[in-house]
Amino acid sequence: MASVMTEADLRARISAFLAEHDPAAAAGGGDADRLAFLRARFDAGLAWVHFPAGLGGLGAGRSLQPVADDAFAEAGAPDNRPGRIGIGLGMAAPTILVHGTDAQRSRFLRPLWTGEEVWCQLFSEPGAGSDLAGLGTRARRDGDDWVLDGQKVWTSMAHVARWAILLARTDPDVPKHAGLSYFVLDMTAPGVEVRPLRQLTGEAEFNEVYLTGARIPDAHRLGDVGDGWKVAQTTLMNERVSIGGGAMPREGGMIGVLAAAWRDNPGVRTPGMHDTVMRLWVRAEAARLTGLRVRQQLAAGAPGPDGSAVKLSFATLSQQISAAELDLLGDEGLRRDSWAMGRPEEVDFTGRDAGYRYLRAKGNSIEGGTSEVLRNIIAERVLGLPAEPRVDTRVAWKDLPR
């Protein structure tokens, strides 16, 4: 079904909108001005243009979104701080759109997009990392509510989030994939406790979330009872697309940091390190060009599987490059800015000091799907290699060894 909205149509609508709503005034004004502008943009269907009319969009093609974003940016309009609400935009919103009821869509999407309400994701558990479907947080039905007990982990933004998307076990007596349901949890509800989770960089980007009798109204269930795994696929698919995504110039990202370190420190150069730097430069440029090609495939409507290559090589490269930077700098590279426990709301993998970059990069092959899981996915879904013998798919969840 081809979209009827053309680029010219869209530009006309944006011009009209901007004529009525002064972007500069909104950007220069207070929070209320900013919010009013964003709400108006949403109501005009210019938020995510590929969403349906009435939900912040115009039912336009996905490829037109950059047109809108660029036009608003050029006009100096305030943005919705996408770095802060990435989980809402990238994971919760597409899931609510596909699996939510009309009431859920109307309630959640607008404040999600404007940034009034921050979202977080309560999927991973200490006992369920790569094997997400093995999770054990229980949701028991009680009247019109569900009562939650369990522990979630690796939750970024939980300490500022208003809402969470959450996966819980509603039936332990069936095989693990069949006993899950998907909910929206009010993070301000009683029985929800958020604790910072300090990571090896010293910072605490993430949280642990303890659920002790926390209640969720059944109206905040997304999808049918027992369909949680299916609903979560929508979330995870969108997560993978969003990681390692943006277009970059040559020497963008971590390789630019290493190249600068090389250029700025002629005194530490050696032939061996030169070889290392050049090998990494080539790999980084290859990865960058691959990303460029993936985006062209997407734009051409032929989304190949190459996106998984992008995420996998992003992790490997960021680790190798940050390690090489430390090797290059020698003991000067061991000097950190601080070990204090910060709580950053946005993460810059290339930021701070060389030690931070090296340590933070270790997370890139764990968060959002380990590199091992990604290799399994490539081997089985892309190359069509056979699965390993499975021992966990036909047994009731409660009877699995753990």
């Binding site: 277009a247 110039p249 190249a259 090389w262 250029r263 002629p266 005194g267 150069r269 032939p271 030169h274 070889d275 730097v277 050049m278 090998r279 430069w281 080539v282 790999r283 440029e285 290859a286 990865a287 060009l289 691959t290 460029l292 090609r293 062209q296 495939q297 051409a300 032929a302 190459d306 998984s308 290559a309 996998l312 090589s313 091992e372 990604l374 290799r375 399994n376 490539i378 081997a379 089985e380 892309v382 190359l383 069509g384 290699l385 056979p386 699965a387 390993e388 013998p389």
Partner: protein
């Protein structure tokens, strides 16, 4: 440079299917094996007639004025990749790409028309591993004297293009003494050349050589992508059907992960080669960087894929009767052709301002 098109057009996909179908019929693993085992010929003449004359692919890089198809780099790269996929023993790279590009730098030359039609083949008389300035022979009174070691496809070429003192000369190959070398990759045989006052015509300036080498690096990288892709596909297919321990061998996770990594590397090589080809097609703003990148990444993935192909086939991959070794030899030989990855990284360092020495 980010508006270069890195994905295939419908025409390119059609061309790919056409060449692949033809090769599936006329150039199988067994036929190449028979060619190599006999060691008699310089190239597969029947196959070359189909490629060059039948399908008109020798004309791709010949200017239209000389009866060619114009500088169709994107199409030529498709052909190079498919010929690599089949380790086809034909002089497409050496004659239709390298020699043709070198000649094409001159204003016009009647030789080009004959190369375009597939009537003749030519070989640039430089060592296969050349990546910088060529060794120059001596040219006096319309005759060339000297020797060149390890020239690709010169054995079967009708014409040699010889870099000499003041330009590139064309020499009838019959006027040269050619000694075949048992070479690691017998699908692209090497020979040594001796010229003793061989009659020669000046056909292009010496500047034609580096340009031809740049195009060669890109096209050989496309070929390497084809080599790697055959190796990956063949290994995956074999591991699906080979059972050990009551399971398909392809279900063993250690192999799966290595193949996943290989696939990632191949995906990247495709993108890098697509970029280098697109840049050539668009006029070559970034030609030096792109060519070196392509040669490095293509060489590495081809060798790795061929090595994994041999290893993962187990014993059968170590035999002469299985074609895997043809790909291993081609991959390793082309990895040093027109400059090894190491040489190209050194060149790249200068191009992108990451010098070893302080400036």
């Amino acid at each position: 440079m980010s508006d270069l098109v890195l994905v295939s057009s419908a025409d390119e996909q059609d061309l790919r299917s056409g060449v692949r179908d033809m090769l599936a019929a006329e150039c199988t693993g067994q036929s190449v094996l028979a060619f190599v085992s006999s060691g008699a010929d310089a190239y597969d003449a029947k196959l070359w007639r189909t490629v060059a004359t039948g399908m008109g692919l020798a004309a791709l890089l010949v200017p239209e004025a000389q009866g060619g198809a114009g500088a169709q780099y994107r199409a030529a790269a498709v052909v190079a990749e498919e010929l690599g996929r089949a380790v086809a023993p034909v002089p497409f790279l050496s004659s239709a790409v390298v020699a043709t590009t070198a000649l094409g730098s001159s204003a016009s030359h009647e030789l080009l028309g004959r190369l375009a039609s597939g009537e003749l083949t030519a070989s640039l008389a430089v060592p296969y591993g050349l990546w910088s300035a060529p060794p120059l022979l001596s040219a006096q009174y319309g005759a060339v004297t000297g020797s060149v070691r390890g020239v690709a496809d010169a054995l079967g070429a009708d014409v040699l293009l010889v870099p000499a003192d003041d330009g590139l000369y064309a020499v009838e190959s019959a006027a040269a003494r050619r000694t075949r070398i048992p070479s690691l990759d017998e699908t692209r045989p090497l020979c040594d050349l001796e010229l003793s006052e061989a009659p020669a015509r000046l056909v292009a300036p010496l500047a034609a050589v580096p340009r031809a080498l740049r195009v060669a690096a890109v096209m050989v990288a496309a070929e390497q992508v084809g080599v790697a892709s055959w190796c990956l596909d063949t290994t995956v297919a074999y591991l699906k059907e080979r059972y050990q321990f009551g399971r398909p061998v392809g279900s063993f996770q250690a192999l799966k992960h290595r193949l996943a990594d290989l696939w990632v590397e191949l995906t990247q090589a495709r993108a890098v080669v697509a970029y280098a080809v697109a840049d050539l097609a668009a006029g070559g703003d970034d030609a030096s960087v792109a060519a070196s990148l392509a040669k490095i990444v293509g060489s590495e993935v081809a060798v790795r894929a061929a090595e994994e192909c041999v290893q993962m086939h187990g014993g059968i991959g170590f035999t002469w009767e299985h074609p895997a070794h043809l790909y291993l030899k081609r991959a390793k030989a082309t990895s040093v052709a027109y400059g090894s990855p190491d040489r190209h990284r050194a060149r790249l360092a200068t191009l992108v301002d990451l010098p070893l020495e302080a400036s």
